[in-house]
């Protein structure tokens, strides 16, 4: 017999109701008292401290990083440091989380372009999303029929945004990070090695505080070329 979507929806809802009211034996299990205390302190601090309120209110995932696991609050305290006044990051073995302490939104995003791109690459298109603009380039090889994309995206610095970077071993990739600079701004270069086909890509993140923008550039170039492209990104005249 072939099941219809209607039958499946009905059955799925019955299962959901059963699962939703299932008595899980350990449901009363909660996090430790110390953990609860941390949470309560955090919520109180939100009322008192503007910067912490911004972070905790606007970035729910950041709140999670703070409250899940006793060690993570410590991790935040020790490692989340102002990078350039407008952004913070917390570091764990599996992810880096960036948060922003200003909200520079309010105007449409300006257009940017890379004024230097490696030979063989050409501009393809600019895609304007509601909060992000993405600029694409590609390199095509006629003989290999192989396309190598490259692109950068940017958005206003905003305390409404959390940026997460997976690091370490993640989904068949090994991702490592090194601090660099882009036109004098602190930046982080992530090297992403695909263990299946041994290809290497880079992601570079930085903020241009003067412009009020966060940038991310993704390439399969060398680290030096990636930084060179980033440093050439300028407003379109």
């Amino acid at each position: 017999m072939k099941l219809t979507d209607q039958q499946l929806e009905q059955a799925a809802k019955q299962v959901i109701n059963a699962l939703g009211s299932a008595p899980f034996a350990e449901e009363e299990q909660t996090v430790s008292p110390a953990f609860e205390e941390q949470m309560a302190r955090l919520l109180k601090q939100r009322k008192r401290r503007k910067w912490l309120k911004r972070i905790a209110c606007s970035a729910a995932s950041v709140l999670l990083l703070l409250v899940i696991g006793g060690g993570l609050l410590l991790t935040f305290d020790l490692e989340a440091q102002a990078i350039a006044g407008a952004w913070y990051r917390s570091v764990s073995a599996e992810r880096h989380t960036y948060r922003f302490t200003e909200d520079r939104r309010g105007q449409p995003l300006p257009d940017y372009e890379a004024t230097w791109i490696p030979e063989g690459y050409r501009y393809t298109k600019t895609t304007r999303f509601k909060n992000t603009t993405r600029v694409g380039y590609r390199k095509e090889s006629r003989y290999e029929r192989y396309i190598t994309p490259m692109g950068f995206e940017y958005f206003w610095i905003s305390d409404q945004v959390t940026m997460l970077v997976h690091v370490g071993d993640y989904g068949g990739h090994t991702i490592t990070e090194q601090p660099v600079t882009v036109n004098g701004n602190t930046a982080y270069l992530y090297e992403d090695i695909n263990r299946w086909n041994n290809t290497r890509n880079y992601d570079l993140v930085w903020i241009d505080r003067e412009a009020g923008l966060v940038f991310r550039l993704g390439t399969s170039l060398s680290a030096e070329e990636t930084i060179a492209v980033a440093e050439s990104i300028r407003p379109v005249k």
Partner: protein, 171 residues
């Protein structure tokens, strides 16, 4: 994708999310610990589950209702099994993995058969047909391509039909 951006919803939604977190963190830790004895692994599963829930927050209609409770259980179960799989030296067939027990009447109904399906099949069908996940959303959730998700749904339906026929025969 190496990096993803997470634009958080409006202030009332943020408050709802915080309420959801406070309401279900214990339950989610419990579910995660069924699969992951190491507390850090369990907490990691909960964290990943919350990130996934955050991305699909529009699918949640209320905090304190069976649909939301079931939703958080399904998501944390998924994340916990993913972590478990990554920790094991030999990768078991997805179809063989045990999930949380769902108390059903055992009346040989289609819902009964669905609840008894192997966990991966059950998860994909529940997310699809109870929460309206699109193929694209499922692909993101399961870390698969859209065509692989379509095949998974097809296999899950096939298994359900078989399970239902057998259940009906038994009943």
């Amino acid at each position: 994708m190496l990096i993803y951006l997470q634009t958080l919803p409006t202030e009332p939604e943020r408050r709802s999310f915080e309420a959801l977190y406070l309401r279900y963190r214990g339950l989610m830790l419990s579910v995660a610990r069924r699969f992951l004895p190491e507390p850090q692994d369990a907490e990691d599963a909960v964290h990943q589950a919350f990130l996934s829930i955050l991305k699909n927050f529009h699918k949640i209609s209320g905090i304190d209702c069976p649909e939301t409770r079931a939703f958080v259980v399904i998501i944390v179960e998924r994340k916990a099994l993913d972590i478990l799989r990554s920790r094991q030296k030999t990768v078991p067939l997805a179809e063989m993995e045990p999930g949380v027990d769902i108390p059903m009447p055992g009346d040989g109904s289609l819902a009964d058969a669905l609840a008894k399906l192997p966990v991966r099949y059950r998860q994909v069908l529940l997310l699809r047909f109870a929460y309206g996940y699109t193929t694209r959303e499922l692909a993101k959730e399961f870390g698969m391509t859209q065509s692989s998700v379509q095949k998974l749904i097809w296999r899950a339906k096939e298994a359900l039909e078989k399970q239902y026929a057998e259940g009906g025969a038994e009943g």
